[in-house]
């Protein structure tokens, strides 16, 4: 290419204007250097795949933001630490706040960890944007008016949605039910919410078996045998980790899945492991707040799924969306607060104020933070099908429900809320 003199002048003129603008902008933004985001991602045990998935969402968001100039011209730098036991994770949270002096901390999946992090975020006066962790004790919020902690959607949202769909699709077609759920608060609360909604929907069910295997168990032959004895019309399970395909496989091998209706509220978290060979069609399966093959996926989502598939040879699951959302929401809040503050880099209080009610486009669609710091999102569930190009099941048709419909409103108890429904 030949550069003409006129062209060269125009270019250099533009460049010097741009340079001048940068010079003007830089002092106005006071802080120099990168924005530091601390990340708490699980790397070991049952939580590891979920932590890795959330990390991918954070990484992708960061790369994209940095490629387009960062947040108000500041690049994002990630400081990654591990989520493990509540005690150790609290220590790492403190380290991120005190030693690395991060601007914000994103991460944490387990509500056990979340319950410990909530008060620490307040004490350290550091904004914490949880992925999947809440600060719920059982189904009740333990921190009704937090300042620094922003937490995930309620733990029982997926059970509420699955119960509504169960009542809608199968009312009158089942009577005896059995539950097999992991033996901790999440499993127990989801099962209780399911039974409460059945009652509210006027469906009289008889519980024939309640099984509570340990989280992370890998042998369910005895549980399956107990279910065979109990002969339920419907089995409800909120397995979300590696236990999901194992249970499914062993239940299938014992002939349990052919005649029984299955409700798997959260199994979509490990969707690729639910192979067609042993996962029946027509089971209700929940994908939490992102479905990788949404027929009306946004260009953003399509781009992420493509990147994820090329890079990891896997189809992404919902935790990526939580991770992505926290980073993008933080950027939007900073920009919104800076605008209000006349272009200056906002103070932490201004960012918090801007985070309340912030609404951004995430991978799965629009998501926001409620004024009481609880996430709002859309949940996806549906009945399994084998008609797809994969070796695992997908869902068709896709049902989606927003948290406005399936999450208890601010300050209301779960069961009071369910009882107030007009059915």
């Amino acid at each position: 290419m030949r550069t003409t003199r006129r062209g060269f002048l125009a270019l250099s003129g533009a460049a010097s204007v741009a340079a001048a603008l940068r010079l003007d902008a830089a002092p106005a933004l006071a802080q120099a250097g990168p924005v530091k985001i601390g990340v708490l991602a699980a790397k070991a045990g049952v939580l590891a795949p979920v932590g890795e998935s959330g990390m991918r969402g954070v990484q992708w968001a960061t790369d994209r933001i940095n490629a387009t100039g960062g947040i108000l011209g500041r690049k994002i730098e990630l400081v990654i630490e591990e989520e493990s036991s509540p005690k150790d994770t609290v220590e790492r949270f403190r380290k991120l706040a005190l030693q690395d002096k991060v601007d914000v901390i994103s991460g944490a999946i387990s509500t056990g960890v979340g319950l410990a992090l909530g008060p620490v975020a307040e004490e350290m006066q550091t904004i914490w944007l949880a992925w999947d962790a809440t600060t719920q004790k059982g189904v009740e919020e333990s921190m009704p008016k937090p300042k620094y902690s922003f937490r995930s959607t309620d733990n029982e949202c997926e059970a509420v949605m699955a119960s509504i769909l169960t009542a809608r699709s199968w009312k009158g077609k089942f009577r005896t039910v059995a539950g097999i759920n992991p033996d901790y608060s999440y499993g127990r609360d989801n099962w209780a919410a399911f039974l409460a909604i059945m009652k509210k929907s006027g469906i009289e069910v008889q519980v024939v078996s309640e099984l509570w295997p340990k989280l992370g168990a890998t042998d369910f032959t005895a549980h399956v045998a107990a279910l065979q004895q109990a002969k339920p019309d419907l089995i409800f399970s909120c397995f979300w980790a590696g236990d999901t395909p194992i249970f499914m496989k062993q239940a299938h091998a014992a002939g349990l899945t052919q005649s029984t209706k299955l409700v798997m509220t959260t199994g979509g978290g490990v969707h690729e492991s639910l192979k067609k060979a042993f996962t029946p069609e027509g089971a209700l399966l929940g994908y939490n707040c992102m479905y990788f093959e949404h027929p009306k996926a946004s260009p953003l989502m399509k781009e992420f799924v493509r990147w994820h598939q090329e890079k990891f040879k896997e189809w992404p699951n919902y935790e990526s969306d939580h991770g992505y959302f926290t980073v993008v929401a933080y950027k939007a809040a900073v920009e919104r607060a800076a605008k209000a503050a006349g272009g200056k880099w906002p103070s932490i209080d201004q960012v918090i104020q801007a985070l309340e009610g912030v609404e951004v486009e995430s991978l799965s669609g629009s998501r926001r933070y409620r004024e009481d710091h609880i996430m709002e999102a859309t949940f996806f569930q549906g009945f399994t099908t084998h008609k797809n190009k994969h070796d695992f099941v997908t869902i068709d048709p896709l049902e989606s429900m927003g948290t406005k419909q399936i999450q208890k409103p601010s300050g209301v108890g779960l069961y009071d809320w369910i009882n107030s429904w007009k059915v």
Binding site: K43, S209, T218, Q250
Partner: protein, 286 residues
């Protein structure tokens, strides 16, 4: 009940590895659960590869066994590492073998990632049988049979074979057998490798029925310790009986009153500790 026996068969293999190594080398090997997990992952990879290379599907069990045995090759180098702590305090053994547990967890994450890993079709290749109103996958019976055969084989090996006699002699009195000309280094390396093989074969055999997850070893090691306490530390027959007791207790608890699944097992553990502290089949300690 068959569910319980199935679980017992797998548990026996892991506990037997633990017993053998402890009985002879006096090493309480926490990493025996990791061998189980490694065997499972390695088994999946081997079978997937073999099926891809055109192996007739029903022969996959042979590949699994082979994979488990081949993986026991990690035994000798690990034994070499453990040699540094034979004459030291037990706490060093626990620390070192626990370090191995953590390292193997990372090795698995490095090679196989964090998502559950599984064999899709293999489980039902041998079909299902209807036994007394419930359907049982034939593969479960294959695993139970394999567990039983290995138990018999181990029994014969320890009681009748020449090497078995040497192993028993070493377990009884190390100095004396050394004085009689037994090459201790070789015996230890072989025994440890055999212990590893029991774990890896167990993991490889169970994998068609389940999915390999990184924490599967940790889950089992706790139960293996319950088995060892019930059966008596260092005793093969103890491992067999203990595994059966734990498996059946768990299965019946789940069938009758699921809330006490774990409690039931530990009630037995506590009763054994109180009434017969050295375990049901303990050897007279020297």
């Amino acid at each position: 009940m068959l569910g319980g026996v199935f679980h017992a068969a797998v548990l026996f293999l892991v506990a037997a590895g633990l017993q053998l190594v402890f009985g002879v080398q006096r090493i309480l090997n926490l990493a025996c659960g990791s061998f189980y997990a490694l065997g499972a992952y390695f088994g999946v990879s081997a079978v997937t590869w073999a099926l891809g290379a055109g192996l007739p599907a029903p022969l996959f069990v042979v590949v699994l066994l082979g994979a488990g045995l081949a993986l026991a090759a990690i035994g000798p180098p690990l034994e070499r590492l453990l040699r540094t702590i034979y004459d030291r305090d037990e706490s060093f053994q626990l620390l070192l073998t626990f370090a191995l547990v953590l390292m193997f967890e990372d090795v698995i994450r490095f090679f196989w990632g964090t998502a559950p890993y599984q064999l899709g079709q293999a489980y039902l290749i041998y079909g299902q049988w209807r036994i007394g109103g419930s359907v049982v996958p034939v593969y479960n019976l294959v695993v139970i049979a394999a567990g039983g055969l290995i138990a018999l084989g181990m029994g014969w090996f320890l009681a009748r074979s020449r090497f078995g006699r040497i192993v028993r002699a070493t377990a009884e009195n190390r100095e004396m057998s050394e004085a009689l000309g037994v090459d201790m280094t070789r015996v230890y390396a072989r025994v440890f490798t055999l212990g590893v093989a029991l774990g890896t074969v167990g993991g490889a055999l169970v994998i068609p029925a389940t999915a390999a997850t990184n924490e599967m070893g940790i889950e089992l090691i706790v139960e293996a310790f319950a088995v060892v306490v019930i059966g008596g530390l260092g005793s093969m027959r103890g491992a067999f009986a203990g595994a059966l007791i734990v498996g059946l207790m768990k299965a019946s608890a789940i069938a009758i009153y699921p809330e006490v699944e774990m409690l039931a097992v530990y009630v037995v553990v506590i009763s054994v500790l109180v009434l017969r502290p050295s375990g049901l089949f303990a050897r007279a300690t020297a």
